[in-house]
Symmetry: C2
Subunit: 181 residues, 2 copies
DNA sequence: TTAGTAGTGAACAGATCTGTTCACTTGTTA
DNA sequence: TAACAAGTGAACAGATCTGTTCACTACTAA
């Protein structure tokens, strides 16, 4: 059991999420969490490693959230892929919404080959594959790519413009595209 | 005539675009441009002011680019709003594509009320209004919002995943949505 | 009791950050 | 020639950044 390690990840996530990765210094995370600097560097070799640990956990959390929603919809006989936009909607309405951590990470660490950038790209690929699976028997790579594009578009519109209706709009668009297919 | 001022803006744009705003230090911009620090601070009161000047110019440039493409399409009798995605496509294929400067700016300066964040949000609103105007007689706020969402979605997909086909995909989706309308 | 583990607090290193100041140079214009 | 505007180069201030080190404390398990 390592409560300090998890506490650091939680605090770092909160600050990274709200203020970005470069703008959040190590000292800030330490002050906010009440953990000593020596302890942080015992658990993480560098700031980059801490960022990757935060992204790792967010990735696992987000995937579970989506998978559970899809599974629930399948049990209830709803169109599974559309509930993904309901998950987005709930996220946008929540207090801790400051945009997507992965989009932001790939923006701040833009160098090709950068570990953080690569991880963010992989997260987006995994999300698209989850969408593809949730399409069920009508699985279609192009349709999955279209829905993933709506997914990211909604996040960006919600964040940069503070437009909370973006998820509902994207869902409506998804319905039209599925119907036209 | 102030060649130094413009040279600073051009250099700063290039570095901000490729490496982000926080990751690009003043000294780096000076070394790359060959301008002295005293001169930079004679033209700009602070780094923030330099960032805003860069965004200002990018905004004007991008708007002109879109408006000219729309005007050309109108003259040729094409659907004006769809050429916007052709502009995106050309941008994605160009060498200097590292994502949208405004999305990145609003991510790095996320504090509500921040001048940089506000400017980025306004840029996105202006883009949506341009889309609305280019819809012509079938002008429709909801349709404009939908196309703007496709617009931002394509940019993010192209950048985070390096997927150059995103503009073409978004265009195809736009066509379907316009047809269904 | 003893050994090992986890954590603290504080000082420190060395780099980098934004921004200021000033003596000096260069080019233009009256 | 004299005045002025724009720019240079270099030093400097003060803050902040990541990361290291070390003596010390608290707790737990053999």
């Amino acid at each position: 059991m390592q409560p300090r390690r998890q506490h650091l990840i939680d605090t770092a996530y909160k600050l990274f999420n709200e203020h970005g990765y470069h703008a959040t210094g190590i000292d800030w995370i330490l002050a906010e969490s009440g953990v000593s600097k020596a302890t942080l560097y015992k658990h993480f070799r560098s700031k980059e490693e801490l960022i990757l640990a935060v992204l790792q956990q967010r990735h696992a959390y987000f995937m579970t959230l989506l998978e559970e929603a899809v599974a629930k919809a399948q049990k209830n006989g709803q169109q599974p892929v559309l509930v993904i936009f309901d998950v987005l909607d709930a996220w946008f309405e929540s207090e801790g919404f400051f945009g997507c951590n992965f989009i932001k990470a790939s923006a701040e660490y833009a160098a090709a080959g950068d570990a953080i950038h690569e991880f963010a790209a992989q997260h987006k690929l995994d999300t698209q594959q989850l969408i593809r699976r949730s399409l069920g028997e009508s699985a279609d790579d192009t349709m999955a790519a279209e829905l993933a594009l709506l997914f990211d578009g909604a996040i960006v519109v919600a964040h940069t413009r503070g437009d909370h209706g973006a998820a509902k709009l994207a869902k409506k668009m998804a319905e039209q595209l599925l119907a036209a297919h």
